[in-house]
């Protein structure tokens, strides 16, 4: 990308400049974080020890990569082969997503170089221990599931076949691991009934986290299809998107009912009339993230329109992100007695991680058979004029200018 930048000196695109500036600031923030400690780089405190990096990078990152296990299960366990074309990009997203979660953890953990301690020091009573192991194992599974794509590009038939031979147990392991830790991220909060607000605390929190991960994961698959079309001219056919959208509606519907039921059981509905601050945040999350997407997708006419699908999927993803942020931040503020707002350095790190993910995704799509079955020939054509097609578009343009 950098060499492309220099060769096209006349006018670097807007997004390229943004990326470079973000990258430089990110490097500086990293230096501050590791030389001066968490207090200097974040707004975290003893009253509020978990913030944006846990709430967004870890909770959302893990959840949004849930499309990977949903899709691989759909294709390789439920044997719905027609969804096969989207398995690869979804796997890539999942794998990148988990790597980026680990990057986020490297920033959030007080002593991240000790992260391997979980391998030799065990506490099987700790949900965090289970999350750590499942994430480690599942990232490995994702790497192995994704490896055939790389082997195909490198024309290594032998290793590719070996992995394909063990694909079924691998996918089953992936679904099990994913189910376990998607729900365990919710289980983390089971231990603080006196701290997490009634609108979010429920004994079925792990199950809710799992269901919303499935819904959010499907939403992400649809959203990615939209981005891929804009950036790479690749997209999903409607006959695949539509059933995905229908599944998402069902999942969101079930989730919505479970949510309302658990809140009613906790007596939390009273907190909505009139809405307190937490009440408003819940209404935003539930209204935009559950009710609206379902309402949009119920009429068949709307499901036939790709734009309607994408908008609904966006909303579902937004609702998912908002839910994780509400559980980790909003719902914990009242008991903590402080308001938490991430520092600009925390935001920079999170943005940089997202940008890194998008750039890596674009690079991978360029050089690996993600959307095609055959490896792409190295590009020799002149780069197209830069458009404002977003960072992925700029990455493609930059990548096309050089090897």
């Amino acid at each position: 990308m950098k060499s492309g930048l220099f060769r096209r000196l006349p006018r670097p695109g807007f997004w390229q400049v943004v990326f470079v500036i973000l990258g430089l600031v990110f490097l500086w923030v990293t230096a501050v974080r590791f030389t001066q400690g968490l207090g200097a780089a974040t707004n975290l405190s003893d009253r509020f020890p978990w913030g944006l990096w846990i709430g967004f990078d870890v909770l959302c990152g893990v959840g949004l990569a849930a499309g990977a296990f949903t899709l691989t299960a759909t294709v390789h366990i439920f044997n719905l082969e027609r969804f096969e074309p989207i398995v690869r990009p979804t796997l890539l997203t999942g794998f990148l997503g988990y790597i980026l979660v680990i990057v986020g953890l490297m920033f959030d953990l007080g002593q991240p170089w000790r992260i391997w301690h979980a391998l030799i020091f065990w506490n099987t009573h700790s949900v965090m221990f289970e999350v750590a192991w499942c994430v480690m194992l599942y990232t490995t599974v994702l790497a192995i599931e994704f490896a055939p794509v790389v082997f195909e590009r490198l024309r290594l038939e032998g290793p590719r076949r070996i992995i394909l031979a063990v694909r079924t147990p691998l996918v089953i392991a992936g679904v099990l691991l994913s189910t376990l830790h998607q729900s365990s991220l919710g289980s983390l909060y089971l231990i603080v009934p006196n701290k997490l607000h009634a609108l979010w605390y429920t004994p079925i929190l792990p199950f809710l986290f799992f269901v919303s991960a499935v819904g959010g994961g499907i939403g992400m698959v649809i959203v990615e299809s939209y981005f891929s079309r804009r950036a790479f001219g690749r997209h999903l056919e409607m006959d695949l998107l539509e059933p995905l959208a229908r599944t998402m509606v069902v999942v969101l519907g079930v989730y919505g009912l479970l949510r309302l039921q658990s809140i009613a059981a906790a007596g939390g509905l009273a907190l909505l009339i009139p809405p307190t601050y937490e009440g408003w945040m819940f209404l935003l999350e539930f209204g935009l993230g559950v009710l609206l997407p379902v309402a949009i997708l119920l009429p068949a006419r709307m499901r036939a329109d790709e734009r309607g699908l994408v908008v609904a999927a966006f909303l579902a993803v937004f609702g998912f992100v908002m839910n994780r942020m509400n559980v980790s931040v909003t719902g914990m503020e009242a008991a903590a007695g402080v308001r938490y707002l991430p520092s600009w350095m925390e935001v920079v790190v999170s943005l940089a991680i997202v940008a890194l993910g998008m750039a890596t995704f674009a690079l991978a799509v360029k050089y690996l058979p993600i959307f095609d079955r055959e490896p792409r020939p190295l590009p020799i054509a002149a780069p197209p004029a830069p458009d404002s097609a977003g960072p992925a578009g700029a990455a493609r343009a930059a990548g096309a200018a050089g090897p």
Binding site: R47, G51, L52, G55, F56, C60, V223, F227, R230, Y277, W280, M281, L284, F314, V317, F318, V321, M322, M325, N326, V329, T330, E333, A336, G337, V338, R339, Y340, L341, P342, V347, S350, L351, V354, S388, A389, G390, P391, A392
Partner: protein, 148 residues
């Protein structure tokens, strides 16, 4: 610019979730009034100040030094943190103190500098610290000295 809008939405979501209370406030969970700075006298509580500390006299001292907590601490409203553990250890008996230390502003000299309390260098004040052996009981209490 839908990508831009999408990115904005995905960024706005977490920021929104962290956004402050529309109603100003958000009380800090009951902050205490003050720390230990102004203790209220507890009328019926018996405060057992540590016993007197006797420091052996060195040859050119007029008499051994007897440190008494009673003359330094208000037993109805004691404030141990004024001296402990910054200037003096609280868990173990400290070593002997020289006038050089005190006049350099260490140990007893933190207060006995002529400003907070009489100066340790004041030659008219020797007997205030260097007390000739009084009654046997006082001496016994003094030499028993120190904290357990």
């Amino acid at each position: 610019m839908r990508l831009f809008a999408a990115t904005v939405v995905l960024v706005a979501a977490p920021v929104l979730a962290c956004a402050g209370h529309p109603v100003p406030g958000g009380p800090v969970a009951g902050a205490p009034e003050t720390a230990v700075s102004s203790p209220r006298p507890a009328l019926d509580v018996e405060v057992r100040l540590p016993s007197d500390l006797a420091f052996a006299a060195n040859p050119d001292a007029p008499a051994p030094v007897l440190f008494r907590h009673e003359t330094h601490v208000d037993s109805t409203a004691p404030r141990c943190t004024g001296c402990h553990p910054g200037t003096f250890a609280i868990l173990k008996r400290g070593g002997p103190v020289t006038h050089a230390d005190m006049e350099a502003g260490r140990s007893c000299g933190v207060c006995h500098d002529g400003k907070a309390a009489f100066s340790a260098a004041d030659s008219d004040a020797c007997e205030l610290c260097h007390q000739p052996p009084a009654d046997a009981a006082g001496q016994a209490a003094g030499s028993a000295g120190g904290r357990p």
